[in-house]
Symmetry: C2
Subunit: 202 residues, 2 copies
Amino acid sequence: MDINSTGRPPGRPREFEIEDALDKAIIVFSERGYHAASISELKDAMGLAAGSLYKAFKDKKAIFLASFDRYKQVRNALLDQELAEGANGRDKVSRMLRFYAEASHGENGRRGCLVVGTAIELAVYDADAAERVGRSMARTEAMIEALIREGQADGSIPPAIDPLATAHVLLSVTQGLRVLGKTGPNRDRAFSVVDAAMKLLD
Amino acid sequence: MDINSTGRPPGRPREFEIEDALDKAIIVFSERGYHAASISELKDAMGLAAGSLYKAFKDKKAIFLASFDRYKQVRNALLDQELAEGANGRDKVSRMLRFYAEASHGENGRRGCLVVGTAIELAVYDADAAERVGRSMARTEAMIEALIREGQADGSIPPAIDPLATAHVLLSVTQGLRVLGKTGPNRDRAFSVVDAAMKLLD
DNA sequence: TCTATTTGGGAACGATCGTTTCCAAACTAA
DNA sequence: TTAGTTTGGAAACGATCGTTCCCAAATAGA
């Protein structure tokens, strides 16, 4: 290492945090969708000039994919945190469903899920988007299946339950909640779905 | 009535059927979404010149809303036809779920549901879209609830089932299936969701 | 036949899109 | 200092968007 090295790259330092900017972009993309979100809207929301945006990201799609990845990272961390408090497998499944119900009503519900939005608007004709959606769905489903098996191991879920098939249904329920949340059912309705769905584990 | 009246309006007659054109527009809007579907794509798919399009419809949004209404009309008719063959309430619920599963895999799945697409892409900031999505969801949910009550009346569904809460979950499942179908699970997976979901009626 | 009306079709319009360019500013390394 | 590099920010670019205009064609009614 050079004695004079500051560990900083050459050139003028960036004056904003990429992740802060992405958090703003996530809101715009979630509410408006990919195509309706213009660069003009994005730069205003992110507090950047167009030039700065294009120095940080290759193009609009790169902004979107980075937003998607950031969204997944944040949501996954929040969900993992919630699941860590679960008493057993069954309780963890319930907490997972409640996590989605919480995000599927009111203002958050109207804002929408970036994964669902990407699946609907982009995945069909964009391979990068499709791969990310596919990985997200597979991860969530595998997680649900693992929670069911955990519940069967700790006795909170009957052994007769088919873990994979039930994980399929519960994944459908979570994605469906996100769709319904867009047109705003109230909180009680979203949570009544959770209670009724838990019957699948009896 | 005038003797000479042909019952035809004045001016040059339209050379295409509105409903045929809308059936083509439905495909474009379903695959691409509202914003990504350009007038250029629409007129090519519908086989019309831009001028003719704008004589038949006020603007792009009017084309979309007419496509939505046509889509709902066709799908509702198909579903009603399928339900008419059901033996009892439980069988009808099963047929309804299979109807959605059939539309949620392969090419049809990738094409997607216009109701879900509208909910995700348009409903948040367009009142006309939101109203149509809301009415569609309410109709479907009311239908499911009615089928459950029918099953309870004919003995095919236990009386202990909560018709409204169960209708909530099953509606979520159908909308979730449509989302998952966009990234293309295979036929068996879509139908395994139906089988597992039917457990809610035990 | 003449007028009024409507459609078909293509050319043209202004607006907005995503992107690039340009220059001053801020930094490192020599 | 000087050269090299990167960012901030605004102005500008070509492309495409949704929409309108215009004219020939096709019809009804008089």
